[in-house]
């Protein structure tokens, strides 16, 4: 045996030096579906952010001379029965979908993870009670639970965000509960308690970081769900009131005109689909990094 045989020259330098975070990023970049999802999701986010500069027309401006124009050069996606430019309304609608999708998931993430951690850490009665409520809420279809909460809160953008946030909460509670339960028994938590850390400090400093990765990954996947629920509720006319354009209410108002003006429903419907698809692809890719066993 000479040193030649065990030389490290065969192993590329990055494999020795690379940190886990960079390795994960590399795994992510190799997943073409996930990267495509991320790019499209970013495009939608940009569209929403820069809506006032991108939209060629005022989304609310009516023009009686251009009612129900089919898609053409000046109106890329045609106009509706009030002569409003569908393309501009679509661009502004991205704001609602994303705002609701992202903020309601943030709401659910914070409320749900705290509830899940609390349930795991406090065990016994309180924990059982929380998880029981989670089970019950999860046995409801998302949209019907959303409708029920909106019946109580009333319509409006802020209420819609809260309603969908509440719908998302039980998922995050269940997601963080399991791992938190497992971590709770670890020695370092025991040690933290022994040196007199408060319960909340233990929860947030020692238990939360262990479940954070999974929570964030599922958060991106559940943003797709939240956007779906948002589209559904706005489609039913229960969310953001008109004339503010949302993709859901644009599809809804176009249904009756499907025979002669199909562009009214089809474009916003496609926008919903593409956005949800993008977040699904992104979330799937991120999940593969966290849990490579799921990669097929």
């Amino acid at each position: 045996m000479t040193d030649e045989l065990v030389s490290t020259r065969a192993i590329p330098e990055w494999a020795v030096k690379e940190r886990p975070r960079r390795r994960r990023w590399r795994t992510f970049l190799r997943n073409r579906t996930a990267v495509a999802g991320m790019v499209v999701a970013l495009l939608v986010v940009m569209t929403a952010l820069f809506a006032p500069w991108i939209a060629p027309y005022d989304p609310l401006a009516q023009n009686v001379f251009y009612r129900l124009t089919p898609p053409e050069r000046t109106h890329l996606m045609g106009t509706d029965s009030y002569g409003r430019d569908v393309f501009s309304r679509l661009i502004w609608g991205a704001r609602i979908s994303l705002a609701v999708g992202i903020l309601s998931v943030a709401f659910g993430m914070i409320a749900g993870s705290l509830l899940g951690l609390l349930a795991a850490y406090r065990g016994k009665t309180l924990g059982a009670l929380i998880m029981r409520a989670v089970d019950v809420l999860m046995s409801f279809p998302d949209e019907i639970l959303g409708i029920m909460i909106l019946a109580v809160l009333g319509a409006g953008l802020d209420r819609l965000i809260i309603a969908i946030g509440i719908v998302m909460t039980p998922r995050f509670a269940r997601l963080s509960y399991g791992p938190a339960l497992a971590v709770k028994e670890k020695e370092y938590v025991e040690a933290a308690r022994a040196i007199g850390s408060s319960d909340w400090k233990i929860l947030l400093r020692h238990i939360l970081p262990n479940v954070a990765g999974e929570i964030v990954v599922m958060g991106s996947l559940w943003t797709a769900t939240a956007i779906r629920v948002e589209a559904n509720l706005n489609f039913l006319g229960l969310g953001v009131p008109p004339p503010i354009p949302t993709w859901g209410n644009m599809v809804q108002s176009g249904i009756d005109q499907l025979t002669y003006a199909p562009w009214l429903s089809l474009f916003p419907g496609l926008a919903i689909m593409i956005t949800i698809l993008a977040f699904n692809m992104l979330g799937d890719g991120l999940r593969d990094i966290i849990d490579p066993r799921l990669q097929e």
Binding site: S139, P141, I144, M148, A151, F235, I255, L258, D284, L294
Partner: protein, 313 residues
């Protein structure tokens, strides 16, 4: 098996009760006095008082709760605050439409999804697999109502193959099926996407097992290995995903009913919501909740049927 069934049914009762309590409480915390909401701001104090008396709104909360439960047990769903029509009557008329829609969605999903999942798993990384996976990712991302609109646009407006609106004349089975096709497909294709994806990954897991290699080694035909040996144990996660997503489907049925103007529960709920008819809303919520609990129960029972180990837990 009988013991397992009885235990599952008994376990569903507290869940149902919790759900009912939740529905009851939620609508009680709704802002605004229901009497004022229904009768308007300018109603006189006497009219308001009479209305509260008639609806039992001035009784203590727990008495209202008890009478809510006892009414439910007797199948009394109250009456509409606006039209005075008994809610049970409306629900009885609408329920079959929602049932047939959701059931056909679940059925079509299982019918297409399981074979498609097996196929994509067996031909892993082939063109078929790629196509199947793209299809299921798209299916997971399209809201059922938009799929319904796409189907309506292509198959009934452009090609004139199916009727656009309504649920058909009640007495005519063919007509009803005809009207059910597109909305059923809208839910069914979404379900197919979920089932395909789950079947594929469950099959891939099972196909790695030793007993599959044994089965092949002893010369069994591939069909027997796949369907008798592999699919059988892959069926447990598949049933669980069908159970979970049938609840999602129940939610989506609301929007699909609206798209196709079907006179189902979703339509009643939406009308009640817009008119702030809390009596109807509460009853419809109760029906949906019962429906969801029932679907969960059915999933559990199916588990026991497919996997004997579960029965003896």
């Amino acid at each position: 098996m009988a013991r397992y069934i009885v235990r599952r049914i008994l376990l569903a009762i507290p869940t149902l009760l919790t759900v009912l309590t939740l529905v009851f409480l939620l609508l009680r915390v709704a802002p605004g006095d229901p009497a004022v909401v229904i009768l308007g701001q300018y109603a006189s104090e006497e009219t308001l008082q009479a209305f509260r008396e008639r609806m039992g709104l001035n009784r203590p909360l727990w008495i209202q709760y008890l009478s809510f439960l006892s009414d439910l047990l007797r199948g009394n769903l109250g009456e509409s605050l606006i039209s005075g029509v008994p809610v049970a009557e409306q629900v009885r008329a609408a329920l079959p439409y929602t049932l047939e829609l959701t059931a056909s969605g679940i059925f079509l999903g299982a019918l297409f999804g399981v074979p498609l999942g097996v196929l994509t798993a067996v031909r892993r990384n082939s063109f078929v697999d790629y196509l199947g996976r793209t299809f299921s990712l798209a299916g997971l991302s399209v809201p059922a109502f938009f799929l319904g609109i796409l189907l309506m646009y292509l198959l009934s407006i452009k090609l004139n193959l199916f009727p656009t609106l309504g649920a058909g004349s009640p007495g005519n089975l063919m007509d009803r099926l005809f009207h059910l096709t597109l909305p059923g497909l809208a839910l069914g294709l979404v379900m197919t996407a979920y089932v395909t994806r789950m079947t594929r990954s469950a099959m891939l897991n099972v196909l790695r097992e030793d007993y599959i290699r044994t089965a092949r080694a002893k010369g069994l035909r591939e069909q027997v290995v796949l369907y008798r040996h592999a699919l059988r144990s892959a069926l447990i996660p598949i049933i669980s995903i069908i159970g979970i997503y049938s609840i999602v489907l129940l939610g989506s049925s609301v929007m699909v009913e609206i798209v196709f103007s079907r006179p189902g529960l979703g339509k009643i709920m939406l009308t009640a919501m817009k008119q702030r008819d809390y009596a109807v809303l509460q009853s419809v919520m109760v029906i949906y909740a019962a429906f969801a609990v029932l679907l969960n129960l059915l999933t559990d029972l199916l588990y026991g049927l497919v996997d004997p180990r579960i029965r003896y837990d």
